[in-house]
C-alpha cells in the first residue's frame, strides 16, 4: 500500500490542535482562523493540496461508511491533541460520534450519532419524548408501501372516489430531502423501483414548514435560530417573520424536548418542524450537522457572528459559560437585518446562457449571487435540494418585502 499523505511528513499534518473539523469547508476554516481557535481539518485525501496551499493544519481521511477504522481515526486525533470532533456534513456525523465517544470515554455518543442516520428511529425517539409526529412506517417493498398508503386513506375515511391524501416516502438513511417523493396514488408506488426500498413512509404534515438551528451546550439551548422557508429547497430567510417568531416559546419547548430525545449535550441540531394555525408543532426530521440552504451564511449575514465558530464552541464541553454568553446575540433583536437567499434552478431542460435581470441587480435588497455562465447543455435531473445552479442573496429590513422578492424571483428563469 502506498503511503497516505498523513504518513508523509508535513508540518501541517503533525501540528496539534484542540478542535477537529470533520469534512472540508473553506468558510469553517476561515472562521476558525479568524477567531484564533486551535483547529485542524480532517479532509478527504483530494483536499491535501488545498490545505497545504492554505497553510492550514489537517489530517486526511477517507470518509465513507463508518466502520472499525473509527478507532484508528480517534487514536490519531487524540495523538494530535484533539479534544473534540465537529461534524460538518451528514457523512461525518457518525465519525464524529465515534471519535467523541472515544475522546470523552462515552460510548453512547456513537449510538446517538447513529440515530441521525435512521429516519424511522429518529421519529420514534421524538415520539417517545412527547413530540408530535405524523403516522409513519418503515416499508421494505411496494406491497408494504401500498398497504400503508391504503391504511392512511382508510384512517381518514377516504372513499375510493375521493382524491387520496398524499403520503411521503424517503430513504431511511439519506441526508435532508435526498430521494424524497410525494405519492399521490398507488400508481405512483407502482412506478417506483424495488431499489427504492427499504424506505420510510409518512403521512403529510399540515402547516408551515421551517427549520431550527439549535446551538446546544451542556444540554441547554444557547442560541435558537428559526429559519423561515418561503419555499422548501428554494428560498428561506433569517430571522423569521413576526408571524412565525410569535411561536418561538412553543418552538423553544420543542427544541428542548428534542435535546432530551437525542441525548445531545453538546453541538448542533438542525430539525425541521411544522407549525399550524393552532400553534401545534410537529416534528419532521433532524440532523446534527451544518444545515443546507446557505443557512449558516444567512445567520452570519443577519447577525454578524460566525456560526461555524459558534458551533465549534458548543461542541466543545470545555467552553465556558462566559464565552458562550459573550458570543451569541439575542435572537431576533440581535440581528442587524434580515438575510435571505434564493437557490436557483433552471426552468428548462437545456441551458445556454445566464440572464440576470438588471432589476434584480439594482434592487436595494440584492446582496450578490453565485450564478455563473453555464456550460451549454442538459440540466441534470433534480435528485435533491442542493443541486441548484447558484444562489442569489438578499438583505433588507422588511420581512414582507423579503418574502415578496424571494417568491417573485423564484418564478424568473435565470437561464436561456
Amino acid at each position: 500500500m502506498p503511503p497516505t499523505l498523513t504518513q508523509q511528513t508535513s508540518p501541517l499534518t503533525q501540528a496539534n490542535a484542540h478542535v477537529a473539523l470533520l469534512g472540508w469547508s473553506g468558510d469553517a476554516i476561515e472562521g476558525m482562523r479568524k477567531a484564533g481557535q486551535s483547529f485542524l481539518s480532517v479532509v478527504p485525501p483530494d483536499f491535501a493540496q488545498t490545505m497545504e496551499a492554505a497553510e492550514a493544519p489537517y489530517e486526511t481521511w477517507d470518509f465513507g461508511t463508518i466502520d472499525e477504522r473509527g478507532q484508528q481515526l480517534a487514536e490519531r486525533l487524540k495523538e494530535r491533541g484533539v479534544g473534540v470532533a465537529v461534524p460538518l456534513y451528514e457523512e461525518t456525523v457518525a465519525w464524529a460520534g465515534y471519535v467523541n465517544g472515544h475522546l470523552w470515554d462515552d460510548p453512547r455518543q456513537f449510538r446517538r450519532s447513529m440515530l441521525f442516520r435512521d429516519k424511522g428511529m429518529m421519529k420514534r425517539m421524538a415520539q417517545l419524548h412527547d413530540l408530535r409526529v405524523g403516522l409513519f412506517e418503515e416499508v421494505d417493498g411496494k406491497e408494504a408501501a401500498k398497504r400503508f398508503f391504503r391504511r392512511v386513506q382508510d384512517a381518514l375515511v377516504k372513499l375510493e372516489s375521493d382524491e387520496p391524501v398524499p403520503v411521503h416516502i424517503k430513504p431511511l438513511d439519506a441526508a435532508g430531502a435526498y430521494g424524497h417523493k410525494m405519492l399521490r396514488s398507488e400508481k405512483d408506488i407502482e412506478a417506483m423501483d424495488e431499489d427504492d426500498f427499504p424506505s420510510l413512509m409518512e403521512s403529510h404534515l399540515q402547516g408551515q414548514e421551517f427549520s431550527c438551528e439549535i446551538f446546544v451546550h451542556d444540554g441547554r439551548v444557547r442560541f435558537l435560530n428559526i429559519t423561515e422557508y418561503v419555499h422548501l429547497g428554494y428560498s428561506n430567510f433569517i430571522p423569521a417573520s413576526p408571524g412565525l417568531e410569535k411561536h418561538r416559546p412553543a418552538i423553544q419547548k420543542a427544541a428542548e424536548k428534542l435535546i432530551a430525545a437525542t441525548g445531545i449535550k453538546h453541538g448542533m441540531l438542525h430539525p425541521e418542524f411544522f407549525v399550524d394555525e393552532e400553534a401545534t408543532i410537529r416534528f419532521g426530521e433532524v440532523a446534527a450537522r451544518v444545515p443546507g440552504g446557505h443557512i449558516f451564511q444567512l445567520i452570519q449575514n443577519a447577525y454578524g457572528f460566525d456560526p461555524y465558530v459558534g458551533m465549534a464552541m458548543c461542541w466543545d464541553p470545555e467552553t465556558s459559560e462566559e464565552e458562550l454568553d459573550a458570543f451569541f446575540p439575542e435572537p431576533v433583536e440581535g440581528a442587524d437585518t434580515i438575510a435571505g437567499c434564493l437557490m436557483v434552478y433552471p426552468h428548462r431542460k437545456q441551458v445556454e446562457s445566464l440572464s440576470i435581470p438588471d432589476q434584480l441587480e439594482e434592487d436595494p435588497y440584492f446582496d450578490g449571487h453565485t450564478l455563473v455562465d453555464p456550460l451549454p447543455g442538459k440540466v441534470p435531473d433534480r435528485e435533491a435540494f442542493g443541486t441548484h445552479f447558484g444562489t442569489v442573496f438578499f438583505r433588507g429590513d422588511d420581512p414582507d418585502r423579503m418574502r415578496e422578492l424571494l417568491q417573485h424571483y423564484e418564478d424568473v428563469d435565470f437561464y436561456a
Binding site: G26, D27, E30, K34, A54, A56, L354, F366, V372
Partner: protein
C-alpha cells in the same frame, strides 16, 4: 499572501449610490479572506459589480477600488492574475459572456487604468504596457463606443455591451490620445454617411470627444465639424451653449437670425446632426417660412411644400421639436423634400397622431427616448419619431437587437406605405396591440408570446421602440405557423408581413429541412436573371426586395443569417455594377471577408444605402423573392458569370454548411 496593508485612500461609499456599500463590505470580506475562501469572496464582490458599471458614479467608485481589489487577491487563480499575458482582442469577448467574466474584465480594465495613470502599480505590468493595452482595447472597439456594436458583435452576442461601452467611455475620458480620435472620426463619418435615425450614441461620443484635452490639437477637421454640429455650429450657438441663453440671444439680435438659420441649415445637411439650439431657432422662426427653409437647408421642392403647409409645419414644430428632440429637424427637412406633406392622407394621419391618446406603458417608453427632460408628451415625441422615419427610411436601425426583420419592415413601409405604417403605429401606441393577418389567422401581438427579443434593448428611435415588440412577436409567430412546409418559411411570411410589394416567387439555396446547400449555381443564375442588367431583359424589379444574406467575419467565416433589402442594382461612376442595399444594423466600417467590404459612400450610394459589387453581394445572398416568371432566362446565364460566385460562397460561409 497579497499585501492587504494598502495605504491608498478610498473615499467612503457614497450614500446615494445603490450597491456601493454592499460592494465595500464584500471588498473588505475579500481582503480579510483566507486563502481557502479568497476566490469565493472575490466572486461575491464581483457579483455586485454589474449594476455599478451602469452608472458614471458607479464606475468612478469602482475605479477608486480597483487597486485594492487587485492587492487583496481578487484576480488570484484567474487569467487576469497575469495581466502581461492578456490580449486586447479578447477584451470584448468577456462582455459577450456571462457572470463573472464581464465583472472580472471590468475590474481588470479599471486596474490597468489606475496603473496607466500612475495610481496603482503591479509587478508584471508597467505604466506604458497598461496604457498600450487600454489604447488597443479602445481602438479595436470604436464601434462599441460609437454605436453599441457591429453586426458581427451582435451575432457573437455581446450581451453586456452596455457595461462594456460605459467602461470604454470611462477609460476614454481619462486616457486622451489623438490617434484614437482619428480612428473614431473615421468610424463616425461612416456611420453618419448612412444618416441613422437614432443618433444618441454618436452624440454621446461627440460630447465625449469635445471634452478631450487633446481634442483641440487634433488635426481632424472632420471631427471638429461633427462636434460643432452637436454642440452648436453657428456664432451665436457657440456663444450660448445653453438653450435659454440662445433663445434670449435670438430675441436680442433679430438681425442675426437669418445668418444663424443659414449656418444651422448647412451644418444639419452636411452632417445629419442637429444641436439643441437648433430646436430653439426653429421654434423662434416657426411663422417665417423663409427662415425655416434656410434653417432646414431645404431644396426647391422642400421650400414649396413648406410654403403650402406652413400651418401644419408650425404645429409640428410646436408639438415635436424641443431641444431634447432637436434631431427631428433632419427628419422634417427630408419629409418636406420627399413631398410627403403634399399627400392628404399623410397630413390627416399626422394631425390625428398629434392628439392621439397614448397607452401609459408606451408613454413611459417614449419619454425614455429623449435626451434629458423633453417637455413633450408622448404623442409629440412619437410624431417627431414618425417624421424622422418617413424622412430617413433607410436610416432605421435595429439597435442592439436581433430584430432585423422588424426594422426592415418599418423601412419598407416608410418608403412605400407611410399610411400603413402609421396605422400599425396607431394601434401599437394607443392599444399596445397590433393585429395582422397571416393566411387564415388573425394574429394579435398582445396575445402572443415569444419573439426574438423578449428583452428589447431600449436604445431605439421612438417608432421602433413602440412598434418592434409587436412586429417581432408577429414575425416569430408567422414563422412558426409556416414552419415545416418543406421550404423556407420566409416565402410565405415576408409577403404577409411586408405587404403587396413582395413578389410571390421565392428562391433559396438551402434545403429548408436539412440545411444543406442545394443547386447553388442554379440559385445564382436565377439571381442574375432577375437583377443583372445583362441577363434580365432590362426588367429589374421596381420595388425594394427583402432578401436573406449570410454574414461573415473579416476572414469570411460564417457568423449568422441577416435580413437586408435590395434597393436597386446600378453601375457606379466607374462603371462597376453594384447592388445597393439597406442594412438595418446601421454599421459603419464593415468587412465580410474575401473581398466583400460593403461601402456606405463614394460609390454612388444615397443616404442610408450600403453597396457591394454585384458578384460579392451575390455570394452573400441565400434567399430572395422574385416574380414567378423571372425577367430573364436563368439557363442563359453563362458559367463564367455564375461559377465564380458559387466558388466564393463555397469558400466563405459555405464552409459552415454541407454541400452536395
Amino acid at each position: 499572501m497579497p499585501d492587504t496593508s494598502t495605504t491608498e485612500t478610498t473615499t467612503r461609499a457614497p450614500q446615494d449610490l445603490p450597491g456601493a456599500r454592499r460592494f465595500d463590505e464584500a471588498l473588505e470580506a475579500l481582503c480579510a479572506a483566507d486563502a481557502v475562501t479568497r476566490a469565493e469572496r472575490a466572486r461575491g464582490a464581483l457579483s455586485l459589480v454589474p449594476p455599478l458599471l451602469r452608472k458614471e458614479e458607479g464606475l468612478r467608485f469602482l475605479y477608486e477600488r480597483a487597486s485594492r481589489f487587485d492587492r487583496c487577491g481578487g484576480f488570484t487563480g484567474t487569467p487576469w492574475d497575469r495581466p502581461q499575458h492578456l490580449r486586447p482582442r479578447l477584451w470584448i469577448g468577456s462582455f459577450g459572456a456571462d457572470a463573472p467574466y464581464p465583472a472580472f474584465e471590468s475590474m481588470n480594465t479599471l486596474r490597468l487604468l489606475a496603473i496607466a495613470l500612475g495610481q496603482h502599480s503591479h509587478e508584471d505590468v508597467d505604466k506604458e504596457e497598461a496604457r498600450e493595452f487600454l489604447e488597443r482595447a479602445l481602438s479595436l472597439n470604436p464601434g462599441l463606443v460609437l454605436d453599441g456594436g457591429t453586426e458581427a458583435d451582435r451575432l457573437r452576442r455581446v450581451k453586456h455591451h452596455r457595461e462594456g461601452r460605459n467602461l470604454l467611455h470611462f477609460v476614454f475620458e481619462r486616457l486622451p490620445k489623438v490617434d484614437l480620435l482619428k480612428d473614431i472620426a473615421k468610424e463616425l463619418d461612416d456611420v453618419m454617411a448612412q444618416r441613422p435615425v437614432w443618433t444618441h450614441h454618436v452624440r454621446a461620443t461627440l460630447r465625449l470627444v469635445s471634452r478631450q484635452p487633446g481634442a483641440s490639437e487634433s488635426d481632424s477637421r472632420l471631427l471638429d465639424r461633427y462636434v460643432e454640429a452637436v454642440l452648436g455650429p453657428t456664432p451665436m450657438s457657440m456663444r450660448f451653449r445653453d438653450t435659454d441663453d440662445y433663445k434670449r440671444g435670438l430675441k436680442k439680435e433679430p438681425a442675426a437670425v437669418a445668418y444663424e438659420a443659414k449656418l444651422m441649415g448647412q451644418s444639419l445637411r452636411a452632417t445629419g446632426l442637429a444641436c439643441r439650439q437648433h430646436a430653439v431657432l426653429l421654434r423662434h422662426a416657426r411663422g417665417d417660412p423663409d427662415v425655416l427653409a434656410e434653417a432646414l437647408g431645404l431644396d426647391d421642392r422642400g421650400r414649396s411644400v413648406l410654403e403650402q403647409n406652413a400651418d401644419l409645419v408650425g404645429d409640428l414644430i410646436d408639438d415635436c421639436v424641443k431641444p431634447g428632440t432637436a434631431q427631428t429637424a433632419y427628419g422634417l427637412a427630408k419629409v418636406l423634400e420627399r413631398g410627403l406633406l403634399d399627400r392628404d392622407e399623410i397630413v390627416s394621419s399626422l394631425r390625428r397622431f398629434l392628439s392621439l391618446g397614448i397607452h401609459p406603458d408606451v408613454e413611459q417608453r417614449l419619454q425614455g427616448t429623449v435626451e434629458g427632460k423633453s417637455g413633450l408628451d408622448g404623442s409629440g415625441i412619437l410624431v417627431g419619431g414618425i417624421l424622422r422615419v418617413l424622412g430617413q427610411p433607410l436610416g432605421i436601425g435595429q439597435g442592439n437587437n436581433p430584430t432585423c426583420q422588424s426594422a426592415r419592415g418599418i423601412s419598407l413601409w416608410a418608403q412605400y406605405q407611410p399610411t400603413h405604417l402609421m396605422e400599425l403605429l396607431t394601434s401599437a401606441a394607443r392599444d399596445n396591440d397590433v393585429a395582422m393577418n397571416f393566411e387564415a389567422h388573425t394574429l394579435h401581438s398582445a396575445q402572443l408570446a415569444g419573439g426574438l427579443a423578449p428583452n428589447l434593448d431600449p436604445e431605439l428611435d421612438p417608432v421602433s421602440l413602440v412598434l418592434v415588440p409587436h412586429l417581432d412577436k408577429l414575425y416569430d409567430t408567422m414563422m412558426k405557423l409556416a414552419a415545416a412546409r418543406g421550404e423556407d418559411a420566409h416565402k410565405w411570411v415576408n409577403p404577409s408581413l411586408y405587404g403587396g410589394i413582395v413578389p410571390p416567387g421565392f428562391s433559396s439555396c438551402f434545403n429548408a429541412i436539412t440545411w444543406q446547400v442545394q443547386d447553388h449555381i442554379g440559385f445564382v443564375r436565377k439571381f442574375f436573371a432577375t437583377y443583372h442588367p445583362d441577363h434580365n431583359n432590362g426588367e429589374a424589379p421596381v420595388y425594394a426586395n427583402p432578401v436573406g444574406i449570410t454574414v461573415t467575419d473579416d476572414r469570411g467565416r460564417h457568423l449568422g443569417l441577416h435580413a437586408v433589402t435590395i434597393q436597386r442594382v446600378a453601375k457606379d461612376a466607374r462603371g462597376d455594377l453594384r447592388v445597393y442595399f439597406y442594412n438595418p444594423n446601421n454599421e459603419g466600417r464593415q468587412d465580410w471577408g474575401a473581398g466583400a467590404k460593403p461601402s456606405v459612400r463614394g460609390h454612388g450610394e444615397v443616404e442610408g444605402e450600403s453597396s457591394l459589387p454585384f458578384k460579392h453581394f451575390a455570394r452573400c445572398l441565400y434567399a430572395f423573392h422574385h416574380p414567378v416568371r423571372l425577367p430573364g432566362d436563368p439557363a442563359a446565364v453563362p458559367d463564367e458569370a455564375a461559377q465564380p460566385v458559387t466558388d466564393l460562397a463555397k469558400r466563405t460561409w459555405g464552409r459552415a454548411y454541407p454541400w452536395p
